[in-house]
C-alpha cells in the first residue's frame, strides 16, 4: 500500500548511499521501538527504512585502553550484560536499563534513543555526563562529535542527509570517578521520564569533588548540561550546603513545559530532588573506586 521500501545494508557505505539517495524521508532503523510506533500512528511516513543492524560494528561493545566503544544499534540488554561497562559506568548502564520494559531492552539502542531526539530519553543525560562522543559517518566521511551536539530540539538532530551514527565512544573513568542516573516516573516501570538526572563526578583528596558534570533530561527541549550545578559540586564535599546549592542550580536550569506527563512546577521541584539524590549515589560510588 504505502510507498515504503525496506533495505538492510551489510556495509556502512551501502547504508550511507541508501540514506543519501532520493528526496523523500529516509529513516534509520535500529531497535525500532520508537520508529515502529511512529510508523503505525502515521506520525512518521518515510519512503525508505534502512535497517542498521546488519552493518558490522553496529551491534556490540568493545574495549580499548582508554574507552568503551558501543555500537549504535546495540540493544540495551546487551549493554546491561557487559560487566566491565556496568562496573565502569553504572549510571550509564542503569539509564539504558530504564528504557522501557525487558522486551524493549531486547531492541532499544543508544543510537535510537539519541536520534529519536526526545527530551526525555533516559540514556542521553548519562552518556553526555560521561563526556561520550559519537562517530558519525556520511557522504562526506567520518566525524567524531560530542553526544550533546547531536540533538538540537524535540525530534530534531544535527545529522545531515545521508549521515548515521556508527558508534559511541565512552572514555573510561579516572580513579575516583563515578556516575549515577535517576529518573522520576509515576509508576515503577514503563513510563517516559518526567525528569531525568545524570551526575558524573571525580573526587580528589578526602572526597572533595574535583570535576563534575550534571545533565538533566525532560526539563528542556534537549538534555541540558547544568554548568552551575557542576560548579556547585566542584571543590566541595557533598554536605547539606552543597546539596542545597546543587538543588537550586538544577531547578534554575530547568525550563520544562506542562504536558500530560508533568507540570512545570512539578518538574522543576523534582529536578532538584533527583540532582541531590543522584549526586549522593555518584559521590558514594566515586569514593569506593
Amino acid at each position: 500500500m504505502s510507498g515504503l521500501s525496506f533495505i538492510a545494508p551489510k556495509t556502512v557505505e551501502e547504508a550511507v548511499r541508501a540514506l543519501a539517495a532520493g528526496d523523500g524521508l529516509t529513516k534509520c532503523l535500529a531497535g525500532g521501538t520508537d520508529l515502529l510506533v511512529q510508523l503505525r500512528s502515521g506520525r512518521a511516513r518515510p519512503e525508505v527504512i534502512v535497517d542498521m543492524k546488519r552493518i558490522p560494528g553496529l551491534i556490540g561493545i568493545s574495549e580499548r585502553e582508554d574507552r568503551f566503544i558501543i555500537g549504535a544499534a546495540t540493544p540495551g540488554a546487551m549493554i546491561s550484560e557487559c560487566g566491565p561497562l556496568c562496573r565502569a559506568w553504572p549510571g550509564i548502564t542503569e539509564a539504558v536499563d530504564l528504557i522501557g520494559s525487558q522486551q524493549i531492552q531486547g531492541r532499544a539502542s543508544l543510537g535510537g534513543n539519541l536520534c529519536n531526539a526526545s527530551p526525555a530519553a533516559d540514556s542521553v543525560p548519562a552518556v553526555i555526563a560521561a563526556r561520550a562522543t559519537c562517530v558519525v559517518v556520511g557522504p562526506e566521511g567520518r566525524r567524531e562529535v560530542p553526544v550533546e551536539a547531536i540533538v538540537t530540539g524535540p525530534g530534531q538532530t544535527s545529522l545531515r542527509k545521508g549521515e548515521l551514527i556508527l558508534e559511541f565512544h565512552v572514555p573510561k573513568p579516572r580513579p575516583h570517578q563515578a556516575d549515577a542516573y535517576l529518573r522520576f516516573i509515576p509508576r515503577t516501570e514503563m513510563d517516559i521520564a518526567v525528569v531525568g538526572c545524570a551526575v558524573n563526578v571525580t573526587l580528589g583528596d578526602k572526597g572533595v569533588c574535583r570535576d563534575a558534570r550534571v545533565v538533566l533530561g525532560a526539563v528542556a527541549p534537549t538534555a541540558v548540561i547544568v554548568t552551575e550545578a557542576a560548579e556547585a559540586l566542584v571543590g566541595h564535599w557533598l554536605d547539606e550546603e552543597t546539596l542545597g546549592r546543587l538543588d537550586a542550580a538544577a531547578r534554575r536550569a530547568s525550563k520544562p513545559i506542562t504536558d500530560k506527563r508533568g507540570t512545570i512546577e512539578y518538574r522543576i521541584k523534582v529536578a532538584g530532588v533527583l540532582a541531590r539524590r543522584a549526586a549522593a549515589i555518584a559521590f558514594k560510588r566515586a569514593g569506593e573506586c
Partner: protein, 161 residues
C-alpha cells in the same frame, strides 16, 4: 510495492514468507502464518501481549518489522511446550490460577520462560520488574508472580536431578 521475501526459523521450523515493508512481525505471525497465539493489545510495545523470543531475547513482535526476521531464530508461545508436555511455567500458570481472561497469558508465558532461562532463581522483586512490560488487567499479578517463582523452583529441582 513488491513484497519482501523472508527466510527465518520459527519454533524450530524453517519458515519462508512474503511480507509488506510496513508489516510488523506480529502482523506476519498472526495474519500470514496463522500463529495467533501472540496477541495485539496495544501495537506500541506497552502491553507485552505480543512477546516473542528473537535470538534469545524477548521483544515485542509489534515493534519489529516482519522484514527484520530474515535469518533470525524466533520462538512464539506456540513453541514453548515440548510436544504435549507443558513447560513448567505453563503448568504453574494453570495450577496457580494465574490467568483469568487469558489474553495476556501468552506474553507472560514467553517473558517468564525467558526470565527463568536467564535467572533460575529470581527474587519476587526481580520477577516483578522483569514482567513489568506485560500488562495484566485481571489478576493483580499476585498469582502470576507466584506461578513464575514456583516454576523456577520446579526447574531448579529438575536441573539438579
Amino acid at each position: 510495492m513488491s513484497k519482501i521475501h523472508v527466510s527465518t526459523v520459527i519454533n524450530d521450523d524453517p519458515v519462508e514468507y512474503l511480507c509488506e515493508p510496513q508489516q510488523s512481525l506480529l502482523d506476519v505471525l498472526r495474519d500470514e502464518l496463522n500463529l495467533t497465539g501472540s496477541k495485539e493489545g496495544c501495537g506500541s510495545g506497552d502491553c507485552g501481549a505480543c512477546t516473542v523470543i528473537v535470538d534469545g531475547r524477548i521483544v515485542c513482535s509489534c515493534l519489529m518489522l516482519g522484514a527484520e526476521a530474515e535469518g533470525r531464530k524466533i520462538t512464539t508461545v506456540e513453541g514453548i511446550a515440548t510436544g504435549d508436555k507443558l513447560h513448567p511455567v505453563q503448568q504453574k500458570f494453570l495450577e496457580h490460577a494465574a490467568l483469568q481472561c487469558g489474553f495476556c497469558t501468552p506474553g507472560f508465558i514467553v517473558a517468564a520462560k525467558a526470565l527463568l532461562d536467564e535467572n533460575p532463581n529470581p527474587s519476587e522483586e526481580e520477577a516483578r520488574y522483569w514482567l513489568a512490560g506485560n500488562l495484566c488487567r485481571c489478576t493483580g499479578y499476585d498469582k502470576i508472580v507466584r506461578a513464575v517463582l514456583d516454576a523456577a523452583e520446579v526447574m531448579r529441582a529438575e536441573a539438579a536431578e
